[in-house]
Amino acid sequence: MGLSEILAYSLGVVSITTALLVVFSKNPIHSVLYLILTFFSIAGQYVILNAQFLFIVQIIVYSGAIMVLFLFVLMLLNLSGDTEPQKDNVFKIISVVAGGLLFISMIAMLKGIGNMNLPASPDSQIGLVKNLGQLLFSKYVIPFELSSVLFLSGMVGAVMIGKKDAEDIN
């Protein structure tokens, strides 16, 4: 068992453990911190899968921007861990069983995924910035421009929703 396999499996174990801790920890701040760890372990998977550009984007956008936004809102709202009302136990058991059934049915559906026709030695340079940038600005230039419009409208929407109403201020 080589280094790459050990790395892949241990990153998988870390991401699953921290994802479970996100769901089951009582304090929302702990959940956010565990989710940051999950995102870092997924970023590590991107490195060993030769997706270097997406590794950097994952660190900057997810672990940096999005999780800081979550942490910021969580601290702004000043929630303590014990204020969240719990669902009753029957409902909890039902939701765990439902998640498990989803997992089992998807696994059953994906049986035999291992013997797919994959190329023997795929190009390992596709994840570099040069290659992705050329594709982004040639084939995907219209979606790229549309995503800038989406960002602008999202920004305007966030400000509009977040600001206090005029009658509240007076």
Binding site: G2, L3, S4, E5, L7, G12, I16, A19, L20, V22, V23, P28, T38, I42, Q45, Y46, I48, L49, N50, A51, F53, L54, V57, Q58, Y62, I66, L69, F70, V73, L77, E84, P85, K92, S95, V96, A98, G99, L102, M106, L110, I113, M116, L118, P119, P122, S124, G127, L132, L136, Y140, S147, F151, S153, G154, M155, G157, A158, I161, G162, K164
Partner: protein, 106 residues
């Protein structure tokens, strides 16, 4: 780092992504705190991203990685608007419990 593609089977990444996605679904069903629901949705998006990147690398096709890039763009916009809605909800109800939002039922 090309050895991972040679030594680890693609089914490992498929099962890992499915497991992470199921954990996200379970969290959405289990919790009532709206912020945690959002985080579980992010977890589901990330599991799909991981599967996209895995298939892209194993196939040697860069289109999947660009798709992940666009998913990240949409997720960032979604989080900005969603957290604004959440702050608004907290301002009106003094709570982030999603089960309080049942006005449509009556």
């Amino acid at each position: 780092m090309t050895e991972v593609i040679k030594h680890v089977d693609i089914s490992y990444y498929v099962y890992l992504s499915v497991l992470l996605f199921s954990i996200g679904v379970m969290g959405v069903l289990l919790r009532r705190n709206a912020i945690i629901l959002f985080m579980c949705i992010e977890l589901m998006l990330n599991s799909v991203n991981l599967l996209f990147v895995a298939f892209s690398s194993y196939m040697g096709d860069a289109n999947g990685q660009l798709f992940v890039f666009f998913i990240m763009v949409v997720a960032a916009a979604e989080v900005a608007v969603g957290l604004a809605i959440l702050v608004m909800m907290y301002r009106n109800t003094k709570s982030v419990d999603v089960s309080l939002l049942d006005k449509l039922k009556n």
